[in-house]
Symmetry: C2
């Protein structure tokens, strides 16, 4: 064994709901291969109304003092969560080498703006968290890639590459979160051959529609959608979106895929009084499955498809994806592959932290568009 | 020689005027003593209207996207300055181990606010600067101390301690910038015996008054003030300020010491038509000298007083300080002591970066009020 480190990875998304925490033992063996064990994992919620302060910042209505204060408030919240996580799981604090934290994105503008400055802003201050925990903290993973002209995202593909790559088959890592994204690793390919991009909507349209029209958080197992019929007018209208026609690399978010897109399309097609809510959900599920599988088929003609993210719990969506991919595609839940589908990103950020501690670049320029590979993150050291 | 590193230190104050850059070779010798050589130094200005963007942020009128963008814009500006500095001074880029940057303070609220969160915000992102320079960067020096209940300031005293301490005499480091501050190191004392605090106004009242009433940037050599008379009513009114009666630790800024303080006092005393501008300047110079020397005399009855900061160029002020301290106080310009008075703080931050790279705490709890000593700063590594 060349190197072994235990790192706590923490992931929070732009939906400001869950905080995923994973303690991961990562090893680099004598053959220069990475392996890992998930030691513990838990999901936490945002507390003390901090979620509304974050949303205020994301809406660009926070001012200098709000940002300064929130940066500390989030750090204190994360410190409390990590202390609870260590205690709850009976982890030996001395064996934990570092904490790798994605941080809360409150602004992300990786494209050069009118003033010619791209930027991204993730809150939680590494130095503050390190001081509060007496631990080494790695934070601010997206900044360097954006500085070098990259999108600062996606960053998980390097983890996909090292832990999913195969000499026997092409591999597609499919993540179905709010948005859906894929990482394509050609059989026996090197890191520079990796392709990754957002395919479009994941659960976002299904969840938002179900929340508004059924007052439920999501369409459990796709049960409501199964009772509906595909409306092909609506389906074709949505499939006609420019985003789906663009070639990779590309990324998307809630500024495009949101409830207004669906409602405006229904209004435009004069379907408002002629479509059942369940038909809308069935159509959106179809849309999601088609755009995911079309993206996969652009990459390759056969592959092991390793699936993770909340979308794997939507049986209808998963059935449709399987139907639309022929038998050359072997679909596997990442849990069955040995990687937690729930904590996949938290584990990936622990791995990115492992790379940062070794001054090993974590971005893939073919994926993010950055000028070159670069060491990601900044390291705040405090050892009790 | 145990360890030798060349570090570029960069200091910018809250007046958003000059950017002081110093390349410093720092050594830790076999007797665990620190030494340094100043290899090069230059002063730069803020460019591209970035100073007005910074002032907007300091006035709390910047929003989330402004802060995100400014964080990158400042980083890019610093990267350009450092490249120019290395080139202009014919420094061998490969011999420079790191850049230590104070960053631009845009918010500093180290006292717990209504919502029970203290915070500070220095811009320039270490990871961005590191990516642009292909260099190790240490940044964000104040955050950890504030997280542990400290004021996040002053941080220079640890440098004062290691480079000015004496077994033969007490030492006072006197810095006369916008505000004036002193560090007291008792003869043969340890780091925990260090006392440091702001004595009150330094050049700020003199400079602001001269700018408004004489349309000159400052009272060169104190020449205008020398033509005036002390107005004792005004002097006593100002000496009566609560700040001067408080015991240390204490710190102050432009929210208290500004032109309004002077003008309001003159108005209150009905002196508006009965005082010459030169009398005001003479009185303010007297005030500054008295409050500095009273603070020194609170600390000790004899000392070597090492003076730095722009105030040393004001001959009248320096003469008054010498007059008010008896012969037990030996007053020495830091330049004569072998440390540049202009680049003192930039050199000190290079030293703080040296400490951070070695995971050595940089704060002094007796000075900042923090709960304990802590490693300052965060380290972003990229080595070409």
């Amino acid at each position: 064994m060349k190197l072994e480190r235990v790192i706590i990875g923490i992931m929070t998304g732009t939906s400001v709901d869950n905080i995923d925490v994973a303690a991961v033992k990562i090893q680099l063996n004598d053959n220069n291969e990475y392996t890992f064990n998930l030691l513990a994992s838990n999901t936490y919620s945002f507390n003390n109304g901090i979620d509304s302060e974050i949303k205020k910042a994301m809406l660009n209505t926070a001012n200098t003092s709000d940002i300064s204060r929130l940066n500390y408030a989030i750090s204190i919240m994360f410190a409390d969560i990590i202390k609870d996580f260590i205690s709850k799981n009976n982890l030996n604090c001395n064996t934990i080498n570092a904490v790798a934290i994605h941080g809360q994105t409150v602004w992300h503008n990786p494209s050069v703006d009118n003033c010619n400055i791209a930027s991204t802003l993730q809150l939680a201050n590494g130095s503050v968290l390190s001081a509060l925990l007496n631990k080494t903290v790695i934070s601010d993973f997206r900044a360097a890639d954006v500085a070098l002209g990259g999108q600062g995202a996606p960053l998980v593909p390097i983890f996909d590459y090292y832990f999913l790559k195969s000499n026997n088959n092409n591999v597609i890592a499919l993540n179905i979160g709010g948005m859906a994204n894929i990482t394509y690793i050609p059989q026996g390919g090197g890191i520079d051959n990796v392709i990754a991009f957002d395919t479009g909507c994941g659960n976002v349209l299904l969840d938002e529609y179900t929340r508004k029209y059924y007052n439920k958080p999501f369409d459990k197992n796709g049960e409501i959608a199964r009772t509906g019929q595909i409306n092909y007018n609506l389906l074709n209208e949505l499939l006609n979106l420019d985003y789906f026609k663009q070639s990779y690399p590309k990324s998307c978010g809630r500024e495009l895929f949101n409830l207004s897109l669906v409602e405006n399309s229904i209004y435009k097609l004069k379907l408002t009084n002629n479509i059942l809510y369940s038909d809308v959900l069935r159509t959106l599920t179809e849309l999601t499955a088609i755009t995911i599988t079309n993206s996969i088929k652009i990459c390759c003609k056969s592959a092991d498809v390793i699936v993770k993210g909340g979308g794997i719990k939507n049986n209808l969506l998963m059935d449709l994806i399987k139907d639309k991919l022929n038998r050359q595609f072997n679909i596997i839940d990442s849990d069955n592959f040995g990687i937690s589908s729930t904590y996949y990103e938290a584990i990936a950020f622990a791995f990115l932290g492992f790379l940062s501690l070794g001054s090993i670049p974590g971005n893939i320029p073919s994926v993010t568009g950055a000028k070159k590979r670069v060491v990601l993150g900044t390291i705040s050291r405090n050892i009790s």
